[in-house]
């Protein structure tokens, strides 16, 4: 019984790591740019498809292919920011939001044309035999995915806290005008933020794509999940996204194991509704002060 419970927790944490990566990307983009990125699921999907193309179709080394996929998604993000979102910066919040919705329609349908809609698997380099640690079994690709997710989360934290661009991002987050006045190149910060957020979603897609399936609509559900994650954690909150992601992964895993697998994907939103009753600003969000 206990072993099964722990197994659910471990599985949940690994998937939750992927959710957290998605969530961090989304929350950074919202926190700094005030854009709700409805194309986030498509960046996730692109990460998986880039890996599939580079590794499964072209035979590039798995690890190099993963790295290139993540960078590739980041570049797409940079282009999107430069060509679309930068022009909409002064528009009311629903305009860039709908632009990303349109973008997600475009990217998803382009993927259908490029790779056809049938689900694919990535035949990665890891052994299919699970590693056994006491009562728990973990397939090594999952362990790899979990470890990479942890590394990327820690890396993102260091990037934001320790680097020059990270400092510029934090300044822009707090007060865009003030940041601009003190010499921060806000355009560059926006572009970097969007690219970075997209790359994190791409990384999540590459990792979870290698574990599960790869198909053009895979981003839809992933996007919904990452919305759940950032609402739980508080929009624009880094730590909140991590905790929210892990919480969602674990509760889904437990919910699927003990309650009903049909409702697994609803658990995040049911959690949110319960959370809203208690703390409408999210777990870590600050209460808005009156003007």
């Amino acid at each position: 019984m206990l072993a099964e419970f722990v197994q659910h927790i471990v599985n949940g944490l690994i998937v939750g790591g992927g959710y957290a990566l998605m969530g961090i990307g989304l929350t950074l983009i919202f926190g700094i740019m005030r854009v709700v990125n409805f194309a986030h699921g498509e960046f996730f999907m692109m990460g998986a498809f880039f890996l599939f193309t580079l590794f499964s179709l072209w035979g590039v080394n798995f690890f190099l292919a993963s790295l290139l996929s993540i960078i590739g998604v980041g570049l797409v993000g940079a282009v999107v920011e430069r060509l679309i979102l930068r022009r909409l910066r002064l528009a009311p919040i629903e305009i860039p939001m709908l632009a990303t919705v349109a973008l997600s329609v475009i990217i998803q349908n382009a993927a259908i044309l490029l790779w056809d809609p049938s689900p694919k698997t990535i035949k990665h380099v890891f052994s299919p035999v699970p590693l056994t640690l006491g009562p728990i079994n973990v397939v090594s690709i999952r362990l790899f995915a979990g470890l990479v997710a942890v590394a990327l989360i820690v890396g993102s934290h260091l990037l934001i806290q320790r680097t020059r661009i990270g400092r510029a991002m934090r300044a822009t987050f707090q007060d865009t005008d003030m940041a601009r006045l003190t010499g921060v190149d806000v355009d560059r910060v926006y572009m970097f933020t969007f690219a970075f957020g997209a790359a994190l979603a791409g990384a999540s897609g590459a990792l979870l794509g290698a574990v599960f399936w790869v198909y053009p609509a895979m981003g839809d559900l992933a996007a919904l999940k990452s919305f759940a994650v950032v609402i739980m954690g508080g929009l624009g909150n880094f730590l909140g996204a991590i905790v929210g992601g892990l919480l969602l992964g674990v509760s889904e895993s437990l919910g699927a194991g003990y309650i009903s697998s049909g409702y697994k994907d609803a658990i995040g939103f049911i959690l949110i509704i319960l959370l809203l009753l208690w703390r409408p600003q999210g777990l870590f969000g600050k209460k808005a002060l009156p003007r």
């Binding site: 919202f30 005030r34 709700v36 679309i84 022009r87 909409l88 528009a91 919040i93 629903e94 305009i95 939001m97 709908l98 632009a99 919705v101 349109a102 973008l103 997600s104 329609v105 475009i106 349908n109 382009a110 259908i112 044309l113 839809d220 919904l224 919305f227 759940a228 950032v230 609402i231 929009l235 009903s260 049909g262 409702y263 994907d265 609803a266 995040g268 939103f269 049911i270 949110i272 509704i273 809203l276 009753l277 409408p280 808005a288 009156p290 003007r291």
Partner: protein
């Protein structure tokens, strides 16, 4: 314009009679269906809330009416209202939970809500038959089976009735004080609340109306298509609706109608593109959002009548300050603070503050920056809860009431910086703030009873006369954001006077005014007081304070350090020390 609209309506009604193909009738019916959905979405969006889970309500309406038809054999004529009421009720419940959320939070939570409902519809096999879908929903009939609607033409006319009703309802709501209140909430929620408009009550009204419309649309769909599946709850549907609203023109009555029509036909035209259809659809969406963010109706109008909308004609109305506000000569002071304390963390912003504002008095609250003046104002007007103490207005405890409740009682504030609704015309700014004076009920507004029309005209006159009073009579048609800084302050004053307050709180009314404008303002405040209003003001302009006020209360670090007549205050040693001992007060006055 009216002629034009009538011509379009007649043409649309004649379409089935001149033998238009069923395929096009079907598309028009679907456009009408989307109009019912987007009209509601537009209503809520007028208050700045985008419901990206709207399709959930469509689906709930469809399943409610469909299941009642399948299991109990009830006529759709009866199940449609039941479905509408039930959907409205679900909308009310969701609103209870989510309407305190704003902006992106609200959007994301509604997306999540629709997803949960979709999963329930998929998994609750016993009720909905899950992904296989619910087949055998009876077609629409008018009460008895013999009067069953069969042809596309029948459904077309049923839809025409529903569309006409929705058009009428939303036009009346958006064109009345309800619409002004919704726009005010979107534009400046704090100011709306402090003018006596409950943001919660109005967004809830918009939410429930929009859900009822979605319920009607759902019921129609159920009996028109006669088959339901959980696909109805898909996010894609809501996206289509949102695109229709924004591309058509949000906030405008005809926006959703035009958007629904265009974006029902565009995907059909794109069928030629075969494989590339959805890709092209996405590209069109992106281009519309990027290059026509205000919507087709907005650009069409601009094309038809030149760029700028014609400014409203200035009405010939006297510059009278009509008040019923002269409070009866009473026992209790107009406003009394007793032991009010506010702490932010360990820091006391206001500490044990007590003061009385007598009836017909002008009292100034002064002190260096950060002394707690604005915090005290926020407590009095309900924007900031107090950690201790109480506030009495006209002898009644108002501590902890919501801002709009306080405004409803006749205590109104003018804000320091954000004192106007920037997008609206000056006249509409003041008209919006007349909200609390409205006595007619909302249904009277919708059906335009004589009383409602008379009231609207009266408020319009009142708004114009207040604009004249502050000297902005000629700028009535100008958008508030185009007024100069000084004019915006004066407009702010007119807005604060509009609800006919008995006590007026002015937060740095002279900030940003030049000497002439300040003189003018002082004169206005004098007149306001002469009509029996009491005025509490925060101000840094010592000339104004010393020249106008009966008494002065001085705050420093949240503590009252002095209170007295201007002359007494100018000689008060502690006050002089608080102001760096410079004696500037003396020099200025």
């Amino acid at each position: 314009m009216k002629l034009w609209a009538a011509a379009v309506a007649v043409a649309l009604l004649a379409l089935p009679l001149i033998g238009v193909d069923d395929y096009y009738l079907h598309l028009l019916i679907m456009a009408g269906l989307f109009y019912l959905l987007t009209a509601g979405m537009n209503l809520l969006l007028a208050a700045g809330q985008l419901n990206l889970g709207h399709t959930a309500f469509f689906g709930i309406g469809a399943y409610t009416s469909g299941l009642l038809g399948v299991h109990f054999g009830l006529s759709p004529l009866w199940t449609m209202p039941v479905a509408a009421a039930f959907t409205g009720f679900v909308g009310y419940l969701l609103g209870r939970l989510t309407l305190r959320l704003r902006g992106a939070y609200f959007v994301l939570v509604t997306v999540g809500f629709a997803e949960v409902i979709r999963l329930v519809a998929t998994n609750w096999m016993d009720l909905t038959q899950g992904p296989m879908g619910l087949a055998g929903v009876p077609p629409f009939n008018l009460g008895i089976e013999r009067w069953t609607l069969v042809s596309k033409r029948d459904y077309y006319y049923l839809m025409a009735v529903l569309v006409a009703g929705t058009l009428f309802l939303t036009a009346r709501l958006l064109g009345s004080r309800v619409g002004r209140a919704l726009a005010a909430i979107q534009s400046n929620e704090s100011l709306a609340e402090s003018s006596g408009i409950s943001a919660y009550a109005h967004t809830m009204l918009a939410m429930v109306v929009s859900c009822v419309l979605a319920g009607v649309a759902g019921a129609f769909y159920a009996h028109y298509i006669t088959f339901l599946s959980p696909e109805l709850f898909g996010f894609q549907n809501t996206v289509t609706m949102a695109v229709m609203v924004v591309a058509g023109g949000q906030g405008m009555v005809l926006g959703p109608a035009v958007g629904s029509l265009v974006f029902t036909f565009v995907p059909e035209l794109l069928r030629m593109a075969a494989f590339y259809r959805m890709l092209l659809y996405g590209v069109i969406l992106l281009l519309v959002v990027m290059f026509m963010p205000k919507g087709l109706v907005f650009y069409l109008r601009a094309l038809l009548r030149g760029r700028a909308p014609s400014p409203a004609a200035v009405q010939a109305v006297d510059a009278a300050l009509e008040t019923g506000g002269a409070a009866p000569p009473g026992e209790a002071p107009a406003l009394a603070l007793c032991g009010v304390t506010v702490r932010f963390g360990g820091l006391a912003a206001v500490e044990d503050l007590s003061l009385d504002l007598a009836r017909g008095e002008i009292l100034a609250l002064i002190g260096p920056n950060g002394a707690g003046k604005s915090t005290a104002f926020n407590v009095v007007t309900g924007f900031q809860p107090a950690d201790a103490g109480r506030v009495d207005f006209d002898g009644a405890d108002i501590t902890g009431l919501a801002p709009y409740r306080i405004a409803e009682r006749g205590l109104v504030r003018m804000f320091q910086r954000t004192s106007v609704f920037p997008e609206a015309a000056a006249l509409d700014n003041v008209l919006t703030a007349c909200h609390r004076l409205a006595r007619t009920r909302r249904w009277e507004v919708v059906v335009m009873t004589a009383a409602a029309r008379e009231e609207e005209a009266r408020h319009r006159r009142r708004a114009q006369s207040l604009l004249n009073f502050v000297g902005l009579g000629r700028k009535a048609g100008e958008a508030a954001k185009n007024l100069s800084c000084g004019e915006q302050r004066l407009l702010g004053l007119a807005i604060a006077l509009a609800p006919d307050p008995s006590v007026l709180l002015l937060d740095e009314p002279a900030a940003g005014l030049n000497a002439v404008e300040t003189e003018q303002l002082m004169h206005l405040i004098e007149v306001i007081r002469s009509r029996g209003l009491s005025v509490l003001l925060v101000e840094h302009d010592m000339k104004l304070v010393m020249g106008l006020c009966d008494r002065v209360v001085v705050l420093n670090y949240g503590v009252k350090i002095a209170e007295g007549t201007p002359t007494e205050i100018q000689q008060h040693p502690e006050v002089i020390r608080a102001y760096l001992g410079s004696g500037e007060i003396l020099a200025d006055a």
